[in-house]
Subunit: 272 residues, 6 copies
């Protein structure tokens, strides 16, 4: 169950409202790298957790924190929209290119649909989709999904930080960037507890490797028409899980050409 | 540029066609954990690569291999559909519960839209979406996205393996599961080359940590109304990147209640 | 069955074509608050109507009228696009900020996909989705869905009205705004016929209230960590349906912590 | 900011796990009528609120409560999935039609993607979309959107109640149905505070009605080829807002046939 | 402007209601091959028409007819749902496999969301999307889009015809199939009027072919690693438009390896 | 199985990077008319092919070529983004309208999500969707779908050609436009091999026309309230397939008003 206090986790201050930046911030709310995604992802992982209680608990903690991040960013969007042009100010645009830029660069739905408020959508107005949420029933897979979310999320936040020169916004983003740093650590710390590379890999580690194809499970297969050409940690030496030796070779077709049966009459293929 | 030979990377054999399993296999084609996603993801990462050529090359190799996996699975779907009931066989269903199960459990669009062929959609017929593809412009973030894709992908493949008792399908899945093992290794090997935890974290490692909020970048913040209650690797000791010390404390609001300006007349808020 | 005459329900005149306003108008065609949504919603409600014929008839009337509104707006989009820059006029943009604004602010798909014609999409180019359509099989629920559609639709239309200073467009919008006024009335009039608050609530009124939980059906539950803090019509006095007394109290967990069974082997959870 | 305690708002008990019912429950989680939608809708309305603080506060309260409803339903899904067949049990299906029904009727992604856990999707596996969320910047429009959400939500919950005969599930649904009753009341109580029909209509009430087309703002227009044929509260008498008189008449085209300019060369229309 | 009469274009009779067939019929309403798609497509093409009035008129005619087809199919869905099991009839399912099949095979949202009514969605419950609609501003391209819609639409209708043995449904489908026959003819007749292959190709025919790359505009390029292997009408002889000669050859890279600039600091690529 | 060589099919040169044109090019990558769509469409048609091997082979050839087109366009996007403003350069925008235009007109996700790289999305940032892909199991229907894709695709490419004055981009587009010319030819050549109009129509030609409604399969039905008013090749003379005579007449309702049963109690319709 959840509670609230109506206050912000960290102060949200906009010194110079900027509707274009409001649009940019939407990516951090409803985009692939955004806070709705991580909030839902951690909460669903918690609710579906069937393993040790400590991981369910931790997921619930951080999922709840992410709700406060959506709140901060929605507030930041609303504050940045307070300078939005409420009409097609042709004269103003003619005289001031910045007005033109704002007209072109803001999300029209911020005005039309939201009445100058935030939306659960990304920087292009594409609605948030639950399709991004990963809750796989495998803790290690989930942890990597979470690291990825915080890595792309922190990259996004640093780009927003570079994009603005508003001191209030920079201060808010410095807070969110720091939280992403910690959240990357958290999920990787779980992976360490799960045994690190040698213990956790391959994911899922509960499937007997004897049942996978032993010819190709540690081989880099090259599809280059001139055969293997790259080299790296992944082409030689012991595998990271300590369970095999890396090799590389040319990928070759082991199956012939597929043969499908002719169509049954009921599908009404074309008589050819 | 790309080439083909019309042969399958590995043999695809269906001993007993099963339209319900055809539907299941769609998840591995067009689902969040599926092969279209990884093919596109690795190829876009390659095409957008602005760093060392070796990583672009490797991404192109494996992206191209994934195209062959889509091909294998599409073939497997078509073969499994060869036993699909081409009509609402009420009499048959009355006499044989398995026919009833197939009628209920198959994807109707396999018959209606595909004429007993595969679709770029998931096991519920939800179309593949490019929204899943991650190509962030940050190599480490991309690598974690790739590990996640192969971890959830391998989990999916092992579940499909358990679901069927068709020897041909099990053999094909054993191949794909092995490739997922290797692909998990590959992306983690890149992360090792990038410096491992101490070199690569926090991602992006090019943002000066002095600019992030130093109060909360290694602190686990508890939103539990009774304060911190969990303990783990992430609540004490040195951080995984060696750049901080973990701590934990109660999350507290550092910002007050947000104050938005009243609505401008042009948005036509309600007179209250 | 449907008929047409090729004429517009109301005149559509654009005095000064404006491709940015064309984009704005798309919200009223294919957006959440748009005319495709209401057309489909009223028609599906009519086609699915299982109650008194008069409501089916009325829904069919107004659903058909909404088709004419899509037609008017699509025409308005096409007319506004007649001034669109058919090329990336760098020189013109350098000399005239308004050209720059238009380049930035118009929907590129109006030119690229539509050849300067309207699209079934919103102001951000997000396609219309049938997911918005409500046809619930419960007349009162449908009527509230319709009121909501006309309330947000009228808000959108008034914002478009404020945004433009084109006399032709203002005249067209004044017509559409008036129709939204009437349509709000219509659906609320049905609710009055259904008995108003005391007759229609709670929706569905056919579910015996004795079967709902009698402890919490008229209680405002506060999740604020400092307990109930708001007061309003909904915290005291008789309920609007006349079937209970409002109260308020602190929300408290009546269920304990959830306990899920451990994962079954076949899902291949991680060995932890 | 948000807090949690890890407990359920109301007890969730499943006496007889049923994977088909798990799928049904998904509609109440991630569907159009579901709890993610209302949670997001009330929270965004709160965060965007620019009017009296009491409404922001109330929206925050109930938005937070809805998070606990998602939690309850996700738990219910996970518990119902504990009886899911982890494999394509052909023999079992042959012998027991119910197994066949379950195989056909469950969501394959519950097993394949979720490892027997809940998803942020509807009963057909279609992901939750932020496109449903209404936060219009107009309090009255938002309130009608909320009434609609609770009306369709309660209809859904009563249908789920009828569908199951599991006592635990019926008890949980009786709680959720009761909360929907109260929530319908809440939003309607706000509308009463806003002045009821005469004060709040037409929405937005801040747009001067003198500017809308006075010919058609209280007229029912009939598109029936044989002219007006329906009668109801909406065709005669004073309008509900007390600002007009209802009338009805045949809808007639007031605009002629639209005339678009010929295509500009750059769009490359077909030479005809 | 549009009118209606409340009657069906052709009679819709369901002799034996079948909820599984109701789900199948949804594909013809809201699917890629469905009637909402063609209705919208023809109407938007009409509204955007900038060429000879006769084509606008014809598109408006047939777009309006398609609205009546949606109406027929929605009615058919509602009638087929009249036999839907309104509860999880475990006992019935145990005794009758057909009940099990229906439980598994029907769309749960027909009951849960629609109250046994039709939805603007496909056979998997995936909502209709405006993304399918083609209105390109090029009449010949639009005509081919329309032929494709009627070709896949007729294929779908014949498959539905095969799937059912309900005489009423077969009669209705025989009508719709016949209309698809005519509609294929219509759009191809326009292409004939536009000049047939020699006059209309390549589409758009208004782009000077001197500006396209003359080396590859009539050459079949083979990506097979063993070079050209197929032969057909498209590898030799005069081209269909009479403007070139077909040839075939091996596809070869004419561009080298792409070289992108290193990342700018502000995107925060990973330090590698 | 697929191979690559890391080189571009044709050279991609950008003389003057332009982030607005980068956004435009996205339509050709991930839009309805784009290369991902045709690549997937031809490959799925190949993999699902159940007829003569020559068509499977040809589809595989051209599907593989389209992968190289995605690669070219993704490279073109990345190169055009090299001049993107990495920050909200207010001062620059104030001084130079073109900077303002770029700020407004570029896709913010190119910077925020892609780090100045291409995305699998359209010019509005709407993600690619598998819902566009047509693989119908009927070769003639598929061929028309392919002609349509290449016709709208070539229209798009010519519009991009007109939009830019960058010589490198024009050269690349001249190549892609030429390939679209050839691809239109290819699919039409297959239709000629399938018998042309008289052999292939109506599609599917395997459904016995005796079973379709013979009253309306060659009749143009007019829904105009004043009856038939258009004339064309489709209203008189022999039909294109040589199997009927065109006629035209007024569309009239052959079915009465639909009659649905009253709602069953379990759906909880409103008591009215
Ligand atoms: Ca966060
Ligand atoms: Ca793979
Ligand atoms: Ca309207
Ligand atoms: Ca609720
Ligand atoms: Ca039709
Ligand atoms: Ca191409």
């Amino acid at each position: 169950m959840f509670y609230h206090d109506g206050k912000l986790q960290y102060s949200v201050r906009v010194d110079t409202p900027n509707p274009v930046f409001a649009r940019m911030l939407q990516q951090a709310i409803g985009g692939q790298e955004g806070e709705i995604r991580v909030a839902m992802q951690y909460l669903f992982q918690a609710w579906n957790a069937r393993g040790p209680k400590k991981y369910r608990d931790m997921l619930l903690e951080t999922g709840t924190e992410e709700l406060a991040h959506i709140e901060m960013l929605a507030t930041a969007v609303a504050l940045n929209l307070e300078g939005a042009p409420p009409a097609l100010q042709e004269q103003a645009a003619k005289e001031n290119p910045l007005v033109a830029a704002v007209l072109g660069g803001m999300d029209p739905r911020h005005y039309l649909s939201g009445g100058l408020g935030a939306l659960p959508a990304d920087a292009n107005g594409v609605p948030f989709t639950g399709a991004w949420v990963v809750s796989s029933g495998n803790l290690a897979a989930d942890m990597y999904a979470n690291v990825m979310a915080e890595a792309t999320g922190r990259a996004l936040a640093t780009r927003l930080y570079e994009f603005t020169d508003d001191p209030g916004m920079k201060d808010m983003l410095a807070f969110l960037i720091a939280r992403d740093t910690m959240h990357q650590q958290q999920w990787l710390a779980v992976l360490e507890e799960l045994g690190g590379h040698t213990g956790a890999l391959p994911i899922p580690n509960s499937f007997p490797q004897a049942q996978e194809n032993g010819e190709v499970n540690y081989a880099f297969l090259s599809t280059h028409i001139d055969g293997p050409q790259t080299e790296g940690r992944w082409t030689q030496g012991a595998s990271l899980d300590g369970k095999g030796q890396f090799s590389q070779r040319r990928a070759e077709p082991q199956g012939g050409e597929p043969q499908l049966a002719p169509p049954v009459p009921q599908v009404h293929a074309q008589l050819e």
